[in-house]
């Protein structure tokens, strides 16, 4: 899909002056940004900056108070829910595992947007589910109860559901939280695989080094506004860490990938005293 930066393909998602809030509180204020199609974009920012809120608004769970969100150039609210779900998938931060469901049963839920009350099963469903389980390495767990799986395995099953949905764009809300570091890397590799297969990936990530290393592009949010957006090497510097994260840190090249790596400085007070 992506033909290089210079040809600038149409954005997968665009936010135009979007405001979102809960009750009295405004979380996103007049936010505008474009998510490039076919690339892996990581959203970073301190807690409460509106990262998850932005994803929830894109996924239609939170209503937009003003402004609009475009999916492939068309306003979201003008489209049928089911039609959107065939192009845009979202993995929430803490989805609920239903009681008594098997891995195959859960992954099969990804086919929901293609079915209806009168067409419960469609040709191609089985193949899509098998391919999704194979791509995430859970094929051999197909008949196991999801509640019996470890956190890392469970996350791969949820990603398989998202793959079975066969959408062009995928949103992931903190997909690495609650996982140990090996499983975090595993999930990030799956994100890279999704991008390699032509999908747009937009993920909220907590770990700045992982975001810089695995994503093509960073979106930095602070207090509900876009601070900067661009390639990790252009965006992540000491000034940004101080301004946005209130962190005194050195930025050095990652020994493996050469991408910017954040190394917090030791406290100065011990030396001073």
């Amino acid at each position: 899909m992506s033909t290089g930066q210079e040809s600038a393909p149409a954005p997968a998602l665009s936010l135009e002056g979007v405001s979102v809030g809960y009750g009295e509180k405004t979380v996103l204020a007049d936010l505008g940004l474009e998510v490039p199609a076919g690339r892996f974009t990581a959203v970073i920012g301190p807690n409460g900056c509106g990262k998850s809120t932005m994803l929830k608004a894109m996924a239609r769970t939170l209503p937009v108070r003003s402004g609009r969100i475009l999916l492939d150039g068309e306003p979201l609210e003008a489209q049928r829910s089911r039609a959107v779900a065939r192009r845009l998938a979202m993995l929430p931060q803490e989805p609920v595992v239903p009681d008594g469901i098997t891995v195959r049963g859960l992954v099969d839920r990804g086919r929901h947007p293609y079915r209806s009350a009168l067409r419960r099963r469609l040709p191609g469903d089985g193949e899509a589910v098998d391919a999704a389980m194979a791509a995430t390495g859970v094929a051999e767990l197909a008949d196991v109860q999801v509640t019996d799986l470890s956190g890392g395995q469970r996350q791969r099953v949820w990603i398989a559901l998202v793959l079975a949905q066969q959408t062009a764009h995928v949103l992931l809300d903190e997909p690495t939280s609650f996982l140990d570091v090996a499983h975090q890397i595993e999930v990030l590799h799956l994100c890279q695989d999704m991008r390699a297969s032509g999908r747009t990936v937009l993920a909220v990530l907590h770990d700045l080094n992982q975001a810089a290393r695995y994503a093509d592009e960073l979106v930095v949010l602070h207090e509900g506004r876009l601070v900067v957006q661009g390639a990790p090497a252009d965006v992540l510097d000491e000034q940004l860490l101080a301004d946005v994260f209130d962190l005194d840190a050195q930025v050095a090249p990652d020994p493996q990938s050469g991408t910017p790596m954040v190394v917090p400085r030791l406290r100065q007070s011990a030396q001073a005293g």
């Binding site: 929830k56 979202m90 009350a117 051999e140 008949d143 196991v144 949905q165």
Partner: protein, 354 residues
């Protein structure tokens, strides 16, 4: 990349206790078999209700009456006495079971049922007030319907967000139910005094002296609501993964929840109108279906059948079991459903802690 951990397959192998699902039968077949067994029990309970005692009408008599023949005695019993009783019991039970499973699916609350949000209590208050203002055979079903409609209307207004938020719905509902209960108790204890015991029967739900009009009423409610629930089933299946996942899959969580709760309230109100506020069936039927099937829901058909079985068997008990003789059926539904649900839950807890 020497720091990359063992590949997934190798790490999975360490979790050797992973058990494949114990599924002796494929899920679809389990569903159908359980539905057939429940339908058979319901038919048997209905047949026994019709056949027992001096006024009994056996299967052969029923066939004769249906063909237009048969004697006058059998016809009266079938069309005016026990026939409506069995039909209303089956219909109200099915409506309550279906209502409960719709409600619990979209609120993701195992203790949820339209009763919890004040429908039954509102109906009770309506019945009590109607009995105050009218003498003789008051149209209790009108009081029940008006009372439940007012209660649900209050809940809808009090949440500030309609039926969109499950937790607000249940908290507002408990408040409205408490107010309705207080009103009912005031009427029973202070105003009616002597007539209180007769009213008490109506307040817990009863299948005594039902007519074919009652049977037709619950039949129509089921004919309208059950197909709509069937259409909604597609989106209901993904509600158990949380609102965000349901939204992401195009099922529109708030829209699906609102539709399911409206259907649930209509079904429950129908049951209340023909049989009074019968407790516990809507709460217990979905639990019994879930623990028996052990499959992801919603089990619409099975829950409806479980509801019908609970109500028919409980009604048989108040007619045939000496100690329960003459009690309103609402007293025994809690007993039967409660005991069975308790056994199931204890079994589940034992299994899980083993």
């Amino acid at each position: 990349m020497s720091t990359v951990p063992a590949p997934p397959a190798e790490r999975d192998a360490r979790r050797s206790e992973l058990r494949p699902t114990r599924a002796p039968l494929p899920p679809g077949l389990r569903n159908v078999l359980l539905a057939l067994v429940l339908a058979a029990i319901a038919v048997a309970a209905g047949a026994v209700t019709l056949a027992r005692g001096d006024l009994g009408v056996g299967p052969s008599d029923i066939l004769k009456v249906l063909e237009g023949g048969g004697d006058r005695r059998a016809e009266i019993i079938l069309t005016r006495m026990r026939g409506p009783r069995v039909l209303v019991g089956a219909g109200a039970g099915a409506a309550l079971g279906l209502a409960g499973t719709l409600f619990q699916t979209v609120t993701r609350n195992p203790l949820g049922s339209p009763d919890v949000i004040g429908l039954g209590a509102g109906a009770g208050a309506g019945i009590a007030l109607v009995s105050l203002v009218s003498d003789g055979p008051a149209p209790t079903w009108m009081g029940a319907l008006a009372g439940s409609a007012i209660a649900i209307g209050l809940v809808h207004a009090a949440t500030g967000r309609g039926f969109a938020s499950p937790s607000r719905l249940i908290i507002a509902g408990i408040g409205v139910a408490a107010m309705a209960l207080a009103l009912t108790q005031y009427v029973v204890a202070v105003v009616l005094r002597d007539a209180g015991s007769q009213l008490a029967g109506q307040l817990v739900g009863s299948l005594n002296s039902r007519s074919m009009q009652h049977a037709a009423m619950i039949g129509i409610v089921l004919l309208v609501c059950a197909p709509l629930a069937g259409l909604l089933r597609h989106d209901l299946t993904v509600m158990d993964m949380g609102d965000e996942m349901a939204d992401a899959l195009g099922a529109g969580a708030v829209r699906t929840r609102t539709s399911a709760i409206i259907l649930s309230v209509l079904l429950c109100a129908g049951a209340v109108a023909v049989a009074g506020p019968i407790a516990f069936v809507a709460l217990a039927a979905p639990h019994i279906s879930r623990s028996t099937l052990r499959l992801p829901g919603p089990h619409l058909l099975v829950s409806a059948l479980v509801g019908a079985v609970i109500l028919l068997v409980s009604d048989l008990a108040v007619q045939a079991v000496p100690l329960l003789d003459g009690l309103p059926v609402g007293v025994t539904t809690a007993g039967f459903g409660g005991v069975y649900l308790g056994i199931l839950l204890i079994g589940t807890w034992r299994r899980n802690s083993a």
